[in-house]
Symmetry: C2
Subunit: 205 residues, 2 copies
DNA sequence: ATGGGTTTAGAATGATAGTTCTAGAATATG
DNA sequence: CATATTCTAGAACTATCATTCTAAACCCAT
């Protein structure tokens, strides 16, 4: 057997570094191998395609991100789950930029490579289960409306509040947490009020 | 003079249609000219580069979008400005998708073409002035914090609430308006409460 | 009618990237 | 020590695009 100067991990790390610094599009085979001083041949000994490497980066970032939210929800606390986003972003600026500033399509062009299909499917399943879990944790039900509200509170609002800071490569200030918290409480309160007196709440809107 | 089978407007319309249907990246010179049955040469008689056409599309979408917000604010109503986003999206699904689902860099690669620089600069100026105007309209001041909150209420939250519906090419349901409204009122109320009794509000967080 | 512009028409060019190929070097195993 | 296997090395190939170029068609003003 040969000597293995360049490992899978080396290529992944190089790709991650380049993607974090200049965006996933900049992680070309040429730039990845150049950073390691490796020949392109070595790259293709480790990976079937560029899609595999960039898909792997994306999957890792998503998994890292989701884990914390899941943990917060297992504790039954929706607000903690909502506040997980700014907290995670502060501790993982690079991965956060990858995940929240770019689209999945900036990583994987066309179809997912066969090697990753199963993991993506698993991830999707987990996320769908998670969205109902979130609705139950916050509202006690997981009907269509509750799921939609939970997505707003736990995903949409926190991500939106954090984005401009990611663009500037700065940690989100405490004000961001306050906005998320205020929004969370208001939407939950509004939901409960509407449940209690649908007619009144309707008119009040 | 020749006969002019293909006008600037034709090319722009074709590019718009393709970009709206399949994303700006799909609006290549080949796809634009193919849609019209025009030769590539004719395209370059009308435009200096692809960047000019796609930059033009982006500028038009931004302008359309901003106009309504500006009008709402001139009436001094921050909530109306916040609710402009879902309303505009319902009436301009195609432009909304272009503007809210893609990044500026998906339209213009590298530098802006000289022909559009002035208009982009003007647009930037207008948006910066607008952000202070929004802060004043809502909070009566335009300090750093007020500007940040206004951006959250008028831009970040509405856009976030609307995005998943754009992806599905469906008009945002009324629930989206309710979320925006609830958030708006809560954040403004929280701001005012904090202004009145800073100590108390601080502890309450 | 014709000269000269504009426009059509599409082939040629050049750049960038992903992927494949051929050759040679290194090494663990028999 | 021989050799099969893996890996390095980088050139070659292929595809996709934006852009430029050459030639011919067209039509208005003279």
């Amino acid at each position: 057997m040969g000597q293995a100067k360049f490992s899978q991990t080396d290529f992944l790390a190089a790709a991650q570094a380049i993607a974090a610094a200049e965006g996933p599009a900049a992680a070309t085979i040429a730039s990845i191998t150049a950073r390691l001083g490796a020949p392109t041949g070595s790259f293709y000994h480790r990976f079937a395609s560029r899609n595999v490497v960039l898909g792997e980066l994306w999957l890792r970032a998503v998994r890292d991100f989701q884990e914390g939210i899941g943990a917060a929800l297992d504790a039954g606390d929706g607000l903690a789950a909502a506040l997980h986003t700014p907290a995670w972003v502060r501790g993982h600026l690079d991965n956060a930029r990858l995940l929240l500033m770019y689209d999945r399509k900036d990583f994987v062009q066309g179809e997912w490579p066969e090697e990753l299909r199963e993991r993506v499917a698993e991830m999707t399943r987990r996320m769908e289960a998670g969205s109902r879990q979130r609705a139950r944790a916050i509202f006690g039900e997981d009907g269509r409306e509750e799921v939609r509200l939970a997505q707003f509170l736990i995903s949409e609002v926190p991500v939106a509040a954090v984005r401009q800071h990611l663009v500037r490569r700065e940690p989100p200030p405490p004000l961001v947490d306050r906005l998320i918290r205020t929004t969370y409480r208001a939407v939950v309160a509004d939901y409960r009020a509407r449940k209690r007196k649908p007619g009144l709440a309707e008119r009040a809107v």
